[in-house]
């Protein structure tokens, strides 16, 4: 046997690929063909002008993109950005194969963990979700989860920011339906960061906007993209296609189509402000052909997402993944199966910002319990993707030699030294002996999750905002009365 000798330690972690490099290039080339020959509906005269000046052919609202321009933009877009918490600390390295889970936006209903009933989404739900996420180490950034219904619908995005920023110090992904809202959110974010320059230097906020499949870019989404690009705010500009309805039914065809949609965001952002961080990806879904619903727990979605992550890694552009979600209406076996599968797929395929933990019922309903469950699943996935460290020390020949045949390892210092970081420790998973489990109330996973939700809500405290930030937020809120 030959023993490798190397002067560098290469630790290739566990990951998988769905597409070969040739397949990635085929899809890339087909997307370029769609952009050049079919074109995209661009509902903004300002963006059409930018595109025309850059060499796109514009006819009415249809813009066609030369391949060279698209490839220039792909190369110009940064491979990663650093997303800080609200105090400018603990940056997430958003790029490569780093995976961070957070919530999603705009759910209309909430599964109330106290009553078990579904009801309209309220401002307190965003606040509670942010606080729960703040306490969970593997939910690493926060989004509003739902559309707040107990305020004027045109003001909900402002209240969403208010509820998030008061209940978590973690990075935020913000969503708004209007240009005014986007501007006011930036204003409040600057106050939280301690000024315009601080937010630029250490951004804690990513903006989310959304084109419409197939191949439509709506006005508000584009205008938001221009504003956030101008301000160097990292921007997710990604579609939610439904294969068989708003995208081809073939999985490769859907990838071609949504890649073209994503690349429009890359081109527009890089033309506007070369080097500004842009994020690609989406909810690469399929329509359930019996109920005509977008399927959030479908294995084909996980496969397409993983494939799209391969394409994004080839481009070296950070990604917006989807996982930790379910089509189930309650936190049951289906919810656990779908969430576990998608969290593991997202982690193995190296999706960067993975949204939708807490999503249920085909993207209609949110749940605090799901967030807590996904945190445990993500802990397992993270452990697995860390891989196995193989070196002279970790292979432990010395201790194997010392213990010898028929010995034991339990009393050895080597075990004491390593077991905590080498073995995964369950928080919610039950490993009690049966009798102990019965004595402690025969609790199900669901029971344990609800206990944890309530424990966090009762005990987890957040530092109040600095007075200066408080003042700006109050001012903005008062303009929305």
């Amino acid at each position: 046997m030959r023993t490798d000798r190397a002067n560098t330690a290469v630790q290739s972690t566990l990951r998988f690929k769905i597409l070969s490099e040739d397949q990635i290039k085929q899809i890339h080339s087909s997307s370029l063909e769609v952009l050049a020959s079919v074109g995209v509906f661009i509902d903004s005269s300002e963006v059409l002008e930018i595109l025309e000046n850059a060499g796109c052919s514009v006819n009415g609202k249809i813009a066609k993109f030369p391949a060279g321009l698209v490839e220039w933009a792909i190369n110009r877009a940064p491979s990663r950005f650093f997303l800080y918490d609200q105090k400018g600390e603990n940056p997430l390295n958003v790029g490569g194969y780093n995976t961070y889970f957070g919530m999603g936006p705009t759910l209309l209903y909430m599964l109330d963990h106290k009553t078990g009933e579904r009801r309209k989404f309220l401002k307190k739900d965003t606040a509670n979700a942010a606080r729960i996420a703040d306490a969970l180490p593997n939910i690493e950034w926060v989004m509003g989860l739902g559309t707040i219904s107990d305020v004027n619908s045109e003001h909900s995005e402002i209240h969403e920011f208010d509820a998030m920023v008061r209940n978590t110090n973690k990075p935020l992904v913000v969503w708004s339906e209007s240009v005014r809202g986007t501007k006011d959110i930036i204003k409040m974010a600057r106050a939280v960061a301690g000024g315009k320059d601080k937010l630029r230097e250490k951004p804690f906020m990513v903006s989310y906007s959304e084109p419409i499949s197939p191949l439509v870019q709506n006005k508000v989404a584009l205008e938001k993209l221009l504003i956030t690009s101008d301000n160097n705010i990292p921007t997710i500009h990604t579609p939610i296609p439904q294969g068989g309805a708003s995208a081809p039914a073939t999985l490769a065809g859907e990838l071609v189509s949504i890649n073209a949609e994503n690349l429009v965001g890359v081109v527009v952002s890089q033309l506007r402000n070369p080097g500004t961080p842009i994020v690609i990806g989406g909810v690469i879904g399929t329509m359930d052909m019996i109920e005509a619903q977008l399927a959030y727990g479908a294995p084909e979605m996980q496969m397409m997402l993983a494939a799209y992550m391969d394409i994004a890694h080839y481009y070296e552009i950070p990604t917006w993944g989807t996982g930790g979600c379910t089509d189930s209406k309650i936190v049951d076996q289906q919810a656990a199966m779908e969430a576990a599968q998608s969290v593991l797929y997202s982690s193995l395929s190296g999706a960067n910002l993975v949204h939708d933990p807490g999503y249920m019922a085909s993207g209609m309903q949110g749940s605090l319990e799901m967030l807590v469950m996904v945190n445990e699943i993500a802990r397992m996935a993270k452990f697995v993707t860390n891989g196995i460290n193989v070196n002279k020390d970790s292979m432990a020949i010395d201790i194997i030699n010392k213990v010898g045949p028929g010995g034991e390892y339990l009393t050895k210092k080597h075990t004491l030294k390593h077991f905590r970081d080498q073995l995964w420790e369950p928080e919610l998973m039950d490993r009690l002996p049966r009798d102990k489990w019965k004595e402690s109330g025969s609790k199900t996973m669901g029971d344990r999750i609800i206990e944890k939700v309530e424990h966090i809500l009762e005990t987890h405290k957040i530092e109040p905002l600095p007075k200066s930030a408080e003042k700006v937020i109050e001012e903005v809120l008062s303009e929305y009365k």
Binding site: S153, S246, M289, I290, A292, M364
Partner: protein
């Protein structure tokens, strides 16, 4: 008789390129438009609908059969009108102002066509005035309003108001759909009904027409 059987099969088999030709042949053979409708097209769509309910056919098969029927209806509709036969109902449908999402409302439009309604699809970003104009122009008795975004669904009461202003509220039933709306919202804005999916929209339209 076999020609009508062929036409019925063509609808069931989703052959929209065949149905106009078969319909023309059936007319040339001396079948009345009404007979073609009642003996071929309606039974075909009843069969397809039944298969859909039983889970033997899926959404694409349902809407492609509706397309095949629509292709035949293009020929029959003027003839039926000449002989004074009214369609079951006339529907104007559209996504409200500010909203470019139309997958759902297109699906509802196709399902309604399949169920024998005459449907005029105004598409995305339909303003209140455009709804009123289309209702007048097509003499519609149902209008369907769709929205996907919470900030655009607020245009729905505006459309209803404009229909009232035009003096058309008694003549037209207003139905609403889309992710952010529900029965409570329908009650709140005094619409005539809400449906959560395309199949339920057809049932609702049938119920409202039967009055």
């Amino acid at each position: 008789m076999s020609l009508l059987e062929d036409l019925k099969d063509a609808v069931i088999e989703m052959e929209d390129e065949k149905t106009p030709e078969l319909t023309q042949k059936a007319l040339d053979e001396g079948n009345t438009p009404e007979a073609i409708l009642k003996k071929a097209l309606v039974p075909a769509m009843d069969f397809v609908g039944d298969q859909f309910e039983k889970g033997k056919r899926y959404v694409p098969e349902m809407v492609l059969s509706a397309q095949a029927m629509k292709a035949a209806m293009k020929l029959l509709r003027p003839l039926l009108a000449e002989s004074g036969i009214e369609p079951k109902g006339i529907v104007v449908i559209g996504t409200v102002e500010g909203d470019l999402h139309d997958i759902g409302q297109n699906l509802v439009a196709m399902m309604l066509e399949g169920a024998g309604f005459e449907v005029y699809n105004s598409g995305t970003e339909t303003t209140a005035d455009e709804f009123v104009k289309a209702i007048k122009e097509h003499n519609a008795n149902i209008v369907g309003l769709s929205a996907l975004i919470t900030t655009t669904m607020t245009h729905m009461p505006e459309v209803i108001e404009r229909i009232e202003d035009a003096g058309l509220r008694d003549k037209v039933k207003v139905i609403i759909g889309g992710a952010p709306v529900d029965q409570d919202y329908s009650d709140e804005i005094k619409a005539d009904g809400y449906a959560s999916d395309a199949g339920s929209a057809v049932k609702l339209a049938n119920k409202l027409i039967e009055g």
